[in-house]
Structures are given as structure tokens and as C-alpha cells.
């Protein structure tokens, strides 16, 4: 008699993915394989131009692979149509280095906006906004405009916006690129908290120290391929 461990579903699965940007002579990704299970928190590291951002873009269907396959939450999205792309992006939210906040709207309105356009009822919206702002530690800044916030606070608003949508996967492309160390730590701690509630997190980052501190599974991308895989020991 043998015991079987229940198999975890893949949240993100890239197999033999090739991608060359238009006009580029060399491929950005070359037969890349990558697998992230549901509920994992994985970091992609590597120097600039190694292909980290391209992987994030492929996972959110902002770019398409030239060859190979990309599956998200068990669905092949390699050649995805507009309708399925829309459905995918309701479950997979991307956070960028540039925050992508609406400058003429308050913190509360920024977080509420994506719920409003998705037809979430007013009461439910208020509840989710309050929860998300509480989680990122910004309830007192709810009426401030993005221009009145520090870079770290703005990034926390963009995380709050993602949290309010309750996605299955959060993709983050250099989310701490514009932040100092202290604010960077705050953002990664937020991701850890989200991951502990079951959200899969894939972060592309330069910040190896942060990755080491949190003991994340790390995939180092070099010249379009996963070169090394390591799980750091948490520093605390």
C-alpha cells in the first residue's frame, strides 16, 4: 500500500516559452520553463534585461509567447482572445513600479474605482476598501490625493487596490524599484501577509537582500532562462 500526497494545482506554468521583442536581434526568453504552485510566493531575480518583466507580462497576457505554452490557474493562455483575457485579469492582478494611481482621485476612490467598474455593490465596495486600507496601514490617508503621499504610501495604495479585487494571483514587476529600504520591506511584508491568506504571489525584483530575508523560493533568470533555483533561509 502506498500513500499519495495530493498534488497541488499549478498557478503559473510556462513550458518551453520563447519570446523575442519586435525589432530585437536576440530572444528575451529562450525555451523557458517555470512553475509556481497555488499559494506559493516566488521571486524572480536577475539583472536588467534578463526577461523578468517579460515573464510577468506573459502571465498577465499583456504579451504573447512566440513559442511554448503559458498556463494560468490551469488554463492555457498562450493564444488568448479578448474575452478570456478580460476574465483572466479579474483573477490575476499586476502591480507595477510606477503605482498606476489616478492622480485626481483620493486614496479611497483609487481603491474603489476598480470595484466600481466591475459592478460591485456600494456597500460591498465600502467594506472591501476599508479592509484593504486597514491591511496596508493607510486608513487615515483615505481622503488624500496620490500627490500628497510618499512613494511608499502610493505603492501601498496600489497594493490595497489589488487586495480589494481579491485576486487569485498577484504579479508584481519591480514593486519596490522606486522605494527606499524601509518602504520596500513594508511592501514585501504586505505580500507575505497576502500570501498567508492563500494568494499566489510572483514578484520580479532586483532586491536580493529582501528575498533572502523572507526566505522566498527564488528563480534567477539569466539570458532568458531560469539559471538557478534556490530557497533562501528566512533571515528572521
Amino acid at each position: 500500500m502506498s500513500t499519495q500526497t495530493p498534488r497541488t494545482r499549478d498557478a503559473i506554468l510556462l513550458e518551453g516559452v520563447c519570446r523575442t521583442h519586435p525589432g530585437a536581434e536576440t530572444p528575451t526568453l529562450e525555451r523557458l520553463d517555470l512553475r509556481v504552485e497555488e499559494g506559493e510566493f516566488v521571486a524572480l531575480t536577475g539583472e536588467s534585461g534578463s526577461g523578468k518583466s517579460t515573464i510577468i507580462a506573459l502571465c498577465s497576457a499583456r504579451q504573447q509567447a512566440d513559442a511554448g505554452s503559458v498556463s494560468i490557474l490551469g488554463r492555457d493562455i498562450t493564444r488568448i482572445g479578448a474575452r478570456r483575457r478580460t476574465e483572466l485579469r479579474r483573477r490575476v492582478v499586476t502591480i507595477f513600479q510606477e503605482y498606476e494611481l489616478l492622480p485626481d482621485r483620493t486614496v479611497r476612490e483609487n481603491v474603489e474605482f476598480t470595484l466600481e467598474i466591475n459592478g460591485v455593490a456600494a456597500g460591498e465596495r465600502r467594506r472591501r476598501v476599508d479592509e484593504a486600507l486597514e491591511l496596508v496601514g493607510l486608513p487615515s490617508r483615505r481622503n488624500a490625493l496620490p500627490g500628497q503621499l510618499s512613494g511608499g504610501e502610493q505603492q501601498r495604495v496600489s497594493v490595497a487596490r489589488a487586495i480589494a479585487l481579491r485576486p487569485a494571483i498577484i504579479l508584481a514587476d519591480e514593486p519596490t524599484g522606486n522605494l527606499d529600504e524601509e518602504n520596500g520591506e513594508l511592501i514585501f511584508d504586505l505580500f507575505t501577509t497576502l500570501n498567508q491568506t492563500g494568494t499566489t504571489v510572483l514578484v520580479a525584483t532586483h532586491d536580493v537582500n529582501m528575498v533572502t530575508r523572507l526566505g522566498l523560493r527564488t528563480l534567477r533568470i539569466h539570458e532568458g532562462r531560469v539559471r538557478t533555483y534556490r530557497r533562501h533561509q528566512a533571515a528572521r
Binding site: 479578448a82 474575452r83 478580460t86 483572466l88 485579469r89 498606476e100 494611481l101 474605482f113 467598474i117 459592478g119
Partner: protein, 310 residues
């Protein structure tokens, strides 16, 4: 419920877009209204010309007016007698280019006159005796009217009893050539104005998209359907066009009414002006064509401006 809330969001966003670009929207509404008015007017001018031609000339190309006591031409010595009326008829009938002719007596002439000038003060100063009897002649297509007038004038002179042979079309041709030139000029202006309106509508949409570029990007990132992203802009264009249509319709109907009133005040007949029903028919046609042109403008503009939402 989610669908209804999305529709509500689309409507609010449309209103917000219109309000934030209210100056551009007002200019576009004015321009569209002007283009629609000019196009409608150029079509109505054609109808109006035909109406006036029929009104003044009746169905006849040539009229042989008979003598009354008031006739002053050298052809008339007294009122045309019944014998002369009978004698004139075979001369007219013998003309090879005459398709049809009929005699219009004083009562018939008065009836036609009162219909044409219904409501006019001119009727108060006249009666049936003031109007001449006449032979009305319709020529075959392609007939040389001036040759027939000349031939009839010569041949009828031997019978006598007629005042003048008048080419109805020639009498009015000077006036109608002016209205035709005016109509073509209006049509050219309408085409120019329509081009300006298309450019203004496209500019209005481009500005709205530019103002909401960040919103659009965020919407694309969180899976908002493309239809929902586009809807406020489409509705914005539709609202501007509809306001233009309302303004144009009010201007055309109001303008026609004003023209009728001015004519009647001047002693003419308001019935001379093209009817509201005919105006509405032309307006509907023009507005439908405008809608198709506007729709094409919206599609092309949004296709190029919202590409990044893919």
C-alpha cells in the same frame, strides 16, 4: 444587478466626460447642427424651387392670355368674345409640339388664384373679373418653347382676341437659376461644415480619451471588458450628435415658420413655403446619413486611441 451597476457607471462617466469637455462639446454640437441645417436647407431649396415653379407656372409651359377690359397690349381692342375663344383653339391644337392644352375660365382662374394666395391680403382687393381667361399649354418633352411661343404669336394674330403668349418657364428662369446657384453653394458649404464637424467630433473623443488615459490603463489591467471601456466615449459622441440634431431640427422648423410668417406679413401666402412634413422627411434622411458618418468617425477614432486596452 452587476450589469445594471456597470450601465450606471457608464452613464455617469459619459456625463462626467461631457461636463469636463463642455466647451469642445458645445462647439461640436454647434458645428454638427450647422452642417445638418445647411444640408437640409440645400435639399429643401430643391423642393422649394419645384414648389414655386409649379405654383407660379401651374402645370403649363406656355399660357395664352385672353383680353380683358384692363388689357393694354396692342392685340386687344375689347374683351375676347366667345367666337374668338372658339377660333383660337384649333390654332393651338394644330401646333405639333403641344402635348395637351386646356381652357381656364375666369372662375377657374380665380379658384386657382385664391388657392395660391390663401390667407393673403391681396385677395381683398381683387375679384374674378380682374383675372384674364387663358389657354394653358403643356408641351411635349424636349420641345423648343421659344419657337412655339413665336409660332403661336404669329398664327394667333390672324384670329385676334389674345393679349399675350407667355413662356411661363422663361419668365421664372432668371429667378430659378439664382435659387439653383444658391442651392449648390449651400451644398458645398454643408460639405465643408460636415468635414469640420467630423474633425471636431474626432478631436472631442481624442481629448476625452487623453483625459482618461490613466483610468483606461487601470481598467485594462483589472479586466474591464473592452465594450465597457469604449461605451462612455461612444455615448458621448452620440449625445453630442443628438444635441446637434435637436438644435438643427429646431432651427429648420423654426426657420420655415418664420419665413411663412414674414411672407404673410408682406402680403404673400405662407403656403408658398415648403411644408413641415416635407422638411421632416428631408431632415430624417440627412440625420440618418449624419449618424452613419458619425458612427464611422467614432469607430476609427476609438480604434486608434484605445489600442492599448487590448
Amino acid at each position: 444587478m452587476r450589469g445594471l451597476r456597470r450601465i450606471w457607471w457608464i452613464l455617469r462617466t459619459t456625463l462626467r466626460n461631457l461636463w469636463s469637455g463642455r466647451v469642445s462639446a458645445a462647439v461640436a454640437v454647434g458645428s454638427i447642427a450647422l452642417a445638418l441645417v445647411l444640408t437640409t436647407v440645400s435639399l429643401l431649396l430643391g423642393t422649394q424651387t419645384e414648389r414655386l415653379r409649379d405654383h407660379w407656372a401651374g402645370r403649363a409651359d406656355i399660357t395664352v392670355y385672353l383680353c380683358t377690359r384692363a388689357s393694354i397690349s396692342g392685340n386687344c381692342r375689347s374683351t375676347t368674345t366667345d367666337r374668338q375663344i372658339r377660333a383660337l383653339e384649333p390654332v393651338i391644337a394644330a401646333q405639333p409640339e403641344v402635348e395637351v392644352y386646356w381652357f381656364e375660365n375666369r372662375d377657374e382662374a380665380w379658384k386657382a388664384f385664391t388657392e395660391r394666395f390663401d390667407g393673403s391680403s391681396i385677395l381683398a382687393n381683387l375679384d374674378a373679373n380682374a383675372l384674364p381667361e387663358s389657354y394653358r399649354i403643356k408641351l411635349a418633352d424636349g420641345a423648343d418653347r421659344s419657337a412655339v411661343v413665336e409660332s403661336l404669336t404669329t398664327e394667333l394674330a390672324s384670329v385676334g382676341g389674345f393679349d399675350i403668349v407667355q413662356d411661363q418657364r422663361e419668365t421664372l428662369s432668371g429667378f430659378f437659376s439664382i435659387t439653383e446657384k444658391f442651392r449648390i453653394g449651400t451644398l458645398v458649404l454643408a460639405a465643408l461644415q460636415a468635414s469640420i464637424s467630423v474633425a471636431l467630433l474626432a478631436h472631442l473623443l481624442r481629448s476625452s480619451v487623453a483625459k482618461r488615459r490613466k483610468d483606461i490603463r487601470v481598467m485594462g489591467l483589472v479586466g474591464t471588458p473592452r465594450r465597457q471601456i469604449r461605451a462612455p466615449f461612444v455615448l458621448e459622441a452620440l449625445s453630442v450628435y443628438s444635441l446637434g440634431v435637436v438644435a438643427a431640427a429646431a432651427a429648420v422648423v423654426g426657420g420655415l415658420n418664420l419665413l411663412r410668417q414674414l411672407l404673410e406679413r408682406a402680403g404673400g401666402s405662407g403656403a408658398l413655403v415648403v411644408g413641415t412634413e416635407a422638411a421632416v422627411e428631408r431632415m430624417l434622411l440627412v440625420y440618418l446619413v449624419g449618424l452613419v458618418v458619425g458612427w464611422g468617425t467614432v469607430r476609427l477614432t476609438l480604434r486608434s486611441r484605445l489600442r492599448e486596452t487590448n
